[in-house]
């Protein structure tokens, strides 16, 4: 049996995601479990992470989602999507420092991330770190996501 070049080996992930999305308003716990299974096969898959978090929220268990994502981020800290979802959950739970670290990692990994700069700006502003917040907002507003502002911000965030 010759292994044909696996195109599109990874494409079936789309079909699986659609199934999970369909399960959300029936039994969100099953949807969450299936999203988690999918994430084991496709680490950091953006839509699967969203579905996992959304399903857990629907099941009234945002805290459980946070715990899961923390474990994922520890195991594979270079996946921007994990850090982004984790950042949002931490911010919501009042862990500003943790949220800041996660979102700073997002923009480090993906400087063109369309949403993370603004969320990061909000967190920094709330923490009173106005200069860095202004740089984050500027990156969001002007698309200077790889430029001086974001570089300064990243170094400031350590």
């Amino acid at each position: 049996m010759d292994p044909a070049t696996p195109i599109p080996q990874s494409a079936p992930v789309f079909a699986a995601l659609r199934t999970i999305a369909g399960l959300m308003n029936g039994d969100p716990r099953i949807a969450a479990a299936k999203a988690r299974e999918l994430l084991k096969r496709y680490p950091g898959q953006r839509q699967a992470l969203f579905l996992l978090v959304a399903s857990r929220r629907l099941a009234g268990d945002a805290g459980g989602a946070k715990t899961l994502l923390q474990a994922m981020a520890r195991a594979e800290p270079d996946l921007a999507a994990v850090q982004y979802e984790l950042g949002l959950l931490l911010a919501e739970s009042g862990d500003g420092a943790g949220a800041l670290a996660a979102l700073a990692r997002v923009v480090e990994l993906e400087p063109m991330h369309p949403d993370a700069w603004r969320d990061l700006g909000d967190l920094l502003a709330a923490a009173g770190r106005t200069e860095e917040a202004a740089a984050a907002y500027r990156a969001h507003l002007c698309g200077e996501r790889g430029g001086d502002g974001s570089a300064a911000l990243r170094s400031g965030l350590g």
Binding site: A21, G44, Q47, A54, D78, A80, A133, L141, C142
Partner: protein, 668 residues
């Protein structure tokens, strides 16, 4: 992408917005004023609204933000951006119900506003309205799925559009390893194995637990003949998932490539113990058994495969390809029945025709046999996509480049190791016999048809542009490195520790210039057989991979001409560099030819070379069973039975037939 970014390009207010963005770091009040000024001339400008929101956040006044955005939203009830910003401000102030209402208005105005759907879902979930929240989340999800639709369309449209679609996502999300994996898979499909490997290594550095990526890396390594590396990745995967069928199968194949048949057979047995019902695995198992000479076991394995899946052409063909196997009448009936199914896959159909052709040839019905061979070839040719003119062009470019002067200018370059003995030519030309004779010598190790030279040439072309012309631009020192690279790639196949080894990849004749430059002391043996005998033998052969030229009599003739032209050219520019073994002469007087061959290799004669059929080394090619018997003369004249149908081959060969075994004085 999650949301349209609030970027300022192609926006008449871009300059003003840039000023606002800069002012945010200093005079926030002035930033707020400037944002409001933009909103006066461009009410509900999304960037200006976001800037104003930022100014409020920096001022730390959430209540003022709610009030101002409330006013703006009220003044511009048709602006989705205004409603969205109001929602965000309300949420920041803890007014979740107000926020949810604002987000609901946003999506009513702009149903494609992904972030609003998500915020609405969050808000509704927090308020306990889970059914509504689920619908909002699903809307957010469906909008994200648009990204995949373009990806799926791209993948379906072919590698170019697929790469463009994936590039667009990776530009924004370079850390998305699923998308990166898809890209690597496409590189693999395009044969850009080194690039696929590089991308997969990067993916795994981010996500070491990404099993699908690690499997694909193993596949990329396997395809580059980096077999030991492939096995290391597969063993890592199998440690975590011992029963993974895909990994076990690729592991068995890698071990076959490595020449480690004992472990390959053990791996197949492990796979079959878990899943004895997959016919294709039985075929792979049978192939490994055949290679080590366990013919009865191989036949049993192939028979098992035909029993499990009677229309699996590969199983029938593998039985036929034993050459010594004879089909019975019930087999012929089963093959014909399988061929009568209109939905039969082309690959199986082709192999069934080839197998049936062999069965009919053995029974003496040559007209019917030829008809089956012709059908099988026609099916294969449709997918083989051989371009005879392109190959002839490549040969002419090669002969134009590799002149006497070209080689003189590079004399002394390359890796000086004398280890490799390349046997080149066409398939079915007696090269396995020449190999078996040499491999029976105590100083020479037979390996297999090693794809290392092809892999190096492909990598060079990937990195430096058109091949072989790129060789003119390489420094002398590069040739030595390439020779070392070849030795490194092939080392894994040398298990006996003998000083010389054989690489029997026949198509390496297309790389003679490269071979000479990188390994000037390697031996090159040209195995040549009568063009009609060789041509017909290829015509009735099904190859698992490659040999795309072998599925049409005219293509075969043209390819043989290219080969003769190439070899004649190198005889002229590098006299004596290549030693030619004429198959008919070898069969007629094996000792004389073996002595000449060994003399060319600079090695003393050894009697063992004449007892090559006693050599138990694994043999992978179509001649595996033939070389396990004393000199095989049956095939010399077989083609004559089919002579009435070989006109197109004869025409394409032209004067080559009459000039054989010499080359015609000038290329036709």
């Amino acid at each position: 992408m999650e949301e349209k970014g609030a970027t300022v390009s192609a926006d008449p207010h871009a300059a003003a917005l840039s000023r606002v963005a800069v002012a945010l770091a200093g005079d926030r009040e002035s930033a707020g004023r400037e944002a409001r000024r933009i909103l006066e001339s461009a009410p509900a400008h999304p960037g200006a609204l976001a800037a104003l929101a930022a100014a409020h956040r920096l001022a730390g006044d959430t209540q003022a933000a709610v009030e101002e955005f409330g006013r703006i939203a009220g003044a511009h009830p048709g602006s989705a951006a205004a409603q969205f910003e109001f929602g965000l401000a309300a949420r920041a102030a803890g007014r979740h119900e107000t926020a949810a209402e604002a987000f609901a208005r946003t999506v009513a105005l702009d149903p494609a506003h992904r972030q609003a759907w998500r915020r609405l879902g969050d808000g509704l979930a927090a308020l306990g309205r889970t059914a509504d929240a689920a619908r909002a989340y699903q809307a957010h999800f469906r909008l994200g799925a648009r990204e995949w639709k373009s990806l799926e369309a791209g993948i379906a449209a072919g590698p170019g559009p697929a790469r463009a679609a994936l590039d667009a996502v990776l530009a924004v999300h370079p850390a998305d390893v699923t998308i990166a994996l898809m890209y690597a898979e496409i590189e693999l499909r395009l044969g850009r194995h080194a690039e696929a490997e590089r991308r997969l290594a990067e993916i795994l550095s981010r996500a070491p637990g990404f099993a699908a990526a690690r499997y694909t890396l193993a596949l990329a390594l396997h395809k580059q003949t980096k077999v030991a590396d492939a096995l290391r990745e597969l063993d890592r995967l199998l440690d975590a998932d011992p029963g993974n069928a895909a990994c076990l199968n690729l592991r068995a194949l890698s071990l076959v490539h490595l020449g480690d048949y004992a472990r390959a057979i053990a791996t197949y047995e492990r796979l079959l113990a878990a899943d004895p019902e997959t016919a294709a695995v039985w075929v792979g198992y049978g192939h490994a058994l055949k290679t080590v000479g366990r013919i009865e076991d191989a036949v049993a394995a192939y028979r098992k495969a035909t029993a499990l899946q009677p229309d699996l052409g590969e199983a029938w063909w593998q039985l036929a390809d034993l050459k010594t196997f004879r089909f019975a009448q019930p087999d012929i009936r089963k093959m014909r029945k399988a061929l009568s199914a209109p939905a039969l896959a082309d690959d199986s159909r082709a192999q069934l025709h080839f197998a049936l052709g062999k069965a009919l040839e053995d029974s003496g019905d040559f007209a019917a046999a030829f008809a089956e061979y012709a059908e099988g070839n026609a099916v294969r040719r449709r997918s083989a996509g051989y371009d005879a003119a392109a190959n002839a062009g490549r040969v002419r470019r090669s002969t134009a480049l590799f002149t006497e002067e070209f080689f003189s200018a590079r004399r002394g370059a390359g890796c000086l190791a004398p280890d490799p003995i390349f046997i080149v030519g066409l398939t079915r030309s007696g090269s396995t016999l020449a190999e078996q004779i040499l491999a029976s010598h105590p100083l020479i190790e037979g390996t297999a048809e090693l794809p290392a030279v092809n892999a190096i040439a492909a990598r060079l072309e990937e990195e430096h542009g058109p091949y072989p012309e790129l060789l003119a631009r390489l420094d002398r020192g590069e040739f030595a490195k390439l020779g070392e690279e070849y030795l490194a790639l092939t080392r894994v196949h040398r298990t006996l520790g003998r000083p010389f080894f054989i690489d029997k990849m026949p198509g390496n004749f297309l790389h003679l210039g490269l071979l000479h430059l990188i390994l000037p002391n390697a031996k090159i043996v040209d195995a040549r057989r009568h063009p009609l005998a060789c041509g017909f033998a290829n015509f009735k052969q099904h190859f698992t991979h490659g040999q795309t030229w072998s599925y049409d009599l005219r293509d075969i003739g043209s390819y043989y001409r290219d080969y003769v032209e190439t070899m004649a050219h190198f005889d002229a520019v590098l006299p004596g560099r290549v030693h030619r073994v004429i198959y008919e002469a070898l069969v007629e007087d094996p000792e004389r030819e073996a002595r000449r061959l060994l003399e060319y290799c600079g090695l003393p004669f050894d009697e063992a070379c004449l007892r090559f059929h006693e050599n138990r080394r694994p043999v992978l090619t179509a001649s595996a069973e033939q070389v396990r018997r004393p000199i095989f003369r049956d095939s010399l004249e077989q083609w004559r039975r089919f002579d009435p149908w070989l006109g197109p081959l004869r025409d394409a060969l032209g004067r080559i037939v009459d000039a054989y075994p010499a080359a015609p004085p000038q290329p036709d």
